[in-house]
Amino acid sequence: MRTIRPGLVFLLLALAGFAAAACGGDDGDEGGGASSIDDYLGAQVTPFFEKPDLVLTDTEGRPFDIRKDTEGFLTILYVGYTHCPDICPTTMYDISEVLKTLTEKQRSQIKVVFATADPDRDTPEVIRKWLDHFDTTFIGLSGDSRQISDLLKQLLMGTPQRTDLGEGNYAVSHAAYAIAYTKDNTGRLVYPFGITQDDWKHDLPMLVNETWK
């Protein structure tokens, strides 16, 4: 069955739907979410994720209450680090490109939140510079190491492991998926690495209107 213990992620890719999306089928602007969670290309998580109950610091240095400040928005949350050369920038770039294809109305209902797993290097300024590279509206969150481990604990993501790369360089382990919290504040779908722009294009317009009814 499509259930799995928390923290692990089960991936379902409806390949037929994927192929259709790849050839540019467009979804309408209006009309609620999907008729079933199976219509999404994201991976289903059971039980669903709650939004972290935590206040971090945004890139302007202001407190950011993850629950309160994303209330009412489709919220895409990704945890990574700016010195990640591979999957983090790929994920942020793919999301930023797909957002450009949405209507203004759809776009205005989405918040993309990046939280760092590497608070030692990722200051608010460093994160801002990096995010602006993709989309100036992306929200970037940092905090002290205790706050970040609290965040990761709430997300069932585990402690970041450092891999020394020499000469002061190091890699940081982090979750290889973005979590989509719909407007009801539940995170039932995650988007693991390997998800393409076409997959996002397929899901986002439905997610914006999703109520899981």
Binding site: L11, A19, N169, A176
Partner: protein, 175 residues
């Protein structure tokens, strides 16, 4: 069912469907030496008892970045009849270059240097792409900007050194 198995399956599925979609949408195949930025030098190694690795480097590219680390990618095709290995890489923009892999453990991504030189089997290919293998460029003197060119020197066990020019661009999960 663990993450690894599933992501493996998905990657296979994605590749298969992408191939189908490509045909269905009527995109044509790349040919050698088309558009700018595709360097495809072919180097034949000196034969060792008739065994030759014939390598072609396809679509070298490097990621634009805002800081002092970046990644480069390419595909190595071996049309010869001997396996070759990628021993090392240098770059004109970086003093510290390594061949890296992303390892997925239960939904967690971990980046590390490869444990052994990557192989390009006879008649096969080695693909470097996001989420798999990449050339890690560290200690960049300045961030890589779109439009810039990075010169990579790849050293292979049999084929020796091959130089390629990798244009700096934005890189997505599938291309």
């Amino acid at each position: 069912m663990d993450w690894k198995r599933w992501s493996g399956l998905v990657m296979l599925g994605v590749a298969a469907v992408a191939a189908v979609a490509l045909v269905a949408c009527g995109d044509d195949d790349d040919d050698d030496g088309d558009g700018a930025g595709t360097a495809s030098p072919t180097v034949a190694a000196s034969p060792t008892q008739g065994q030759v690795a014939k390598l072609q480097i396809i679509d070298p590219r490097a990621r634009d970045t805002t800081n002092d680390v970046s990644a480069a990618y390419f595909t190595v095709k071996n049309t010869g009849d001997a396996t070759d290995r990628l021993l090392s890489v240098t770059a004109d923009v970086s003093t510290k270059v390594e061949v890296h892999e992303m390892v997925m453990e239960g939904g967690t991504a971990k980046m590390q240097a490869v444990k052994a030189p990557l192989e390009i089997p006879a008649g096969g290919e080695l693909v470097l792409k996001p989420g798999g293998y990449h050339i890690m460029l560290m200690n960049l003197a300045s961030p890589l900007k779109e439009g810039q060119q990075v010169k990579l020197t790849l050293t292979f066990e049999k084929s020796g050194k091959i130089e390629v020019t990798a244009p700096v661009k934005k890189i997505e999960a599938m291309n």
